[in-house]
Symmetry: C5
Subunit: 274 residues, 5 copies
């Protein structure tokens, strides 16, 4: 049977989380860099599609390409790990320090990869500075400004909005990480994980790793955004919101709803967890 | 063989219904909340697509994303259960009280999840109240009004229409729940269950759980709908219509057409059922 | 191996035909009703797509949804049986009276299901008579008139056209029934059977069961068509044309081209058939 | 493993070619007739799509439907055989007279089937002569004239063009026949063979069997083309070009690049071939 | 299990690289010629789609067709080998001279195949010189000029841009070669490899083999490009950039992140490599 039932899915997620926690720093970092770059690629492709068709939904249906590459090749995406490692923890397979170590280096790797791609992409799209406007350049700047200075303009309410959008985003991203485990086949994994990622990107929710590319790229392209705007009004609240969604909505919920019928797991969690 | 023949499909549906009936209340509630939220996500994505393209059919082809997540992860959607648990009953696997217990908590969970998503989504789409109009806001309001006050305006005939649309909807939703069992593979399940859900959403029929999101969301967004309008002119008649369609058109029909060739099942139904 | 070679395909079709012939009348009727209704659903969805996009080809690519549901769930569609049961006959597995019995009740079931859906759909689309015009209402009326009174207007030549269009239609529909047997997997079956059904609907050929919905629905919606127009200028010649295409182009041809290399089958046909 | 490696693919192609060569004349003819008709169906569907959307590329993506039916059902398409039988010959599995016998009857069958479909289609599309213009009628006439009298207008250069377009076409068609063998599954075969057929049709290259439908259909529909134009300026040079592409670019090349690593095959070819 | 985990994927890539290194020159050359021609076909099809729809993204989604044919049939594409053979080297399976031999002949084959297709295509598209303008002709010329004389116009900065675009391209092309190994099934391979190739082509990055077709074709079609422009401002820097991306971003990175958990491989690399 190619299809995998939810209880087994979550147990596989837990084991995958365990493996992630035991990777060397070099591996986490390198895998994180690749993930950051691949999401950057997918984002710029999506913007090509959006600007050419005039419809963001077309970009959104294309965006999961990058996510698929990351998950099929088992790379490190910190937002996905926000649910996978806690699930491993609830099943007694990892310790909190190991989780924090993974989060730290995966986040760092994602950031490096995103900025690396942003530099290369900016050189390409601006013809090394000889071009300052194009549909995609304008799109990147507009998106990045809407993700930073627009929240700032609203003030405290802006924090609520960015935080809620971060929750709404990573509930789906972590569901994508879980959906990928519902199949033994590559085509099944691709189709299953495509869905939630399409859902979040199509509604413009806030994803920490996508923003690691979009905002610095926009800054290089001349957007009116400071480093402070980026981190205070986006990167920090989005990362927190992404974590909470992954931890609460996905990790806790799916741990609970799938733990019942496997007594051996419960024994383990009694002994090791909490 | 990946493809599963109808007799085996319905027997699997019956067993799945049996399992649903024996879940703890916490599990039903939590699974119901997730389902409600996921359908909300799919609905707002569909409206993004509809409003951007100006074609509801594009939204409809996207909408089944939420349904696929629910079924692949074996969550609780009361409208699907309207056929699955009766089939389990006809095969002597569950009792009526257990069915009603499932319906009650699944309905409650779906309602909580839908409203929870409606709150988060409303914060995001209105920028915490700083924005009162957009294509998607207008769409949600227009749809919700057409699903409530428009029926009320017609009077008694409005009840006939909303009830018939609820029948037409859940015949297909429950067919989606059944089609998901026609394959052992994830891609096969996705493709098979996509079809009937696409069919109902593409024609604007009335689905109790979708409405648990659309109508309260529209109310939060300023639609001219009262709680009474919601429940009297939509939620209650739609839930009844959805149940009857699931019970009569799907559960009874498919129980009958697939029971003949498995004598062991018939023995069971003679002993336990009716 | 998931793919199934033609000789085995036709032998499976023959066995499926045999099973169809031995179903009880209640089963044939109930399965026929479901098929009629499901094709109705698919037809109205296709018209939604056609009218919203202004392109009939978009409706055509969606239409096979209903056919897929029918075949995956092994329901009774008389037009598909027009080839399947004759193949079973050529292989010595059924008798002519049993074929006629299946045809009669499947046709009746298809008709009841189609009209049942037409009634429900008409209530929904007209808001129980409060609405008399919409893109889809106009489409249904226009299509139904082109399928009846337009032929009548041409006279004898109209009979030739409707008959030829019925041949062209059911050659493909029966090929869809056969293509569904080329795979052991659900996704393979869906893809394979989608093709010929898309081909016929995309060219507006005449399908007896689709017309059982479209014409009465149009009549309820106010089209200028009499019951005589429906049966004399469409239902009867289309059913005959559908049968001849299924019998000659598909059943006879595929029986011949696949019988050679299986001596055991030839023995059977020598003994029982002809 | 569902995927099949190239060496095994070509060996399977060779064996399929062997079987083709040993079919009875009735089988080749009947299978050829079905193929001709099915390609005709696909062509007219493609033209529906092209004319409705105003984009030939949409028609092209739909056209492989006919080819898929032919290959999944193992029918006879002379242009595909132009590579498959030579490969069987290089592997010592068939003799040249048997190849010529297959080519002759497959060509004849394809021609009969194409013209048979052209007659039925012409009756349908013209409403038995009551309609002389429509988007599809105009398209068929325009395409057919561009495939005949337009080459004639250029003179000798026209021969070069039609021949080169025939080469470019059948390189891809024969690749489609080979790609179909790269998978054990129906969905894999469909996807793999779709690609090269889409490529050739999307660029308007010259395919002998498609032209057996398009040109006579156009003549029936009133195109200014004589039988001489059809055969001298299209059918004959296209068939020759199709054969050379299949023989040289596909059969010889793929025989060479896949023969090395299977010594048993080489022994056979030493003994029997050359 | 159809899906293949990354460690096994890279080991399979290494073995495939080993086989590539041991092919005869005739095989490499012939396989390279086929690859060059197939990419040419895919490029011109993509341009048909782009010009008809006015959207390059539509062409991009079609372009991977050629790449899929190449990889499913295990042909030689030098840009893909830029990562595959170094991985084989890191795992101690090939020697540097063998790698250079493969690169040389694959490059030569790709060049011959591309130019061969360019000649045939130019004859077809210009009607042997009777037509000098069309949407596709203009597109090829415009693209080729943007890939050569436009860089030259910028001067030194143009070199930076073309080099960066070559890096960005072949990171994805080599990822496509790797993604193809993530599945045992044909459909899984097709879907997985489609993604990165779509990503690069959709953004207009620089691919050495595509350019072997586009630039000479444009020259034949009358573009204002000299052989010097082609090689100095595109072919040479693009080939170098493509190699570096394949070697550094893909080969080194994926060798490192996948080597840890297979001690037997590490032993081999200790003994034979570096």
């Amino acid at each position: 049977m190619d299809y995998i039932k939810p209880n087994e899915v979550i147990q596989s997620v837990a084991k995958a989380g365990e493996k992630k926690s035991s990777l060397s720093v070099v591996h986490i970092l390198l895998k994180g860099i690749l993930s950051g770059a691949f999401l950057g690629y997918a984002t710029t492709l999506a913007y090509q599609a959006s600007t050419q068709t005039g419809m963001d939904i077309v970009g959104a249906i294309i965006f999961p390409t990058g996510f698929v590459m990351i998950l099929l090749l088992n790379l490190e995406l910190v937002t996905g790990s926000f649910a996978m490692l806690p699930i491993a923890k609830f099943r007694g397979l990892v310790t909190t320090p190991k989780i924090l170590r993974n989060f730290t280096w995966a986040f760092t790797g994602n950031l490096i990869g995103s900025i690396f791609y942003a530099i290369l992409f900016t050189i390409a799209i601006t013809k090394f500075g000889h071009l300052s406007e194009s549909l995609v350049i304008d799109k990147i700047i507009a998106v990045a400004e809407s993700k930073t200075v627009d929240y700032k303009a609203i003030g405290a309410g802006g924090y609520v909005v960015v935080f809620v959008k971060a929750l709404l985003c990573n509930w789906m991203v972590t569901m994508g990480a879980i959906m990928a485990f519902t199949s033994h086949s590559t085509i099944g994994k691709i189709a299953a994980m495509w869905i939630p990622v399409f859902i979040f990107f199509g509604q413009g929710f806030e994803h920490a790793v996508v923003n690691m590319f979009v905002i610095p790229a926009a800054m290089m392209l001349g957007a009116d955004i400071t480093v402070g705007d980026w981190w205070l009004w986006n990167q920090i609240p989005v990362t927190i919101g992404n974590f909470i969604a992954g931890f609460v909505f996905t990790a806790i919920c799916f741990h609970i709803i799938t733990k019942e019928k496997s007594p051996s797991i419960e024994l383990v969690t009694k002994d090791k967890a909490s």
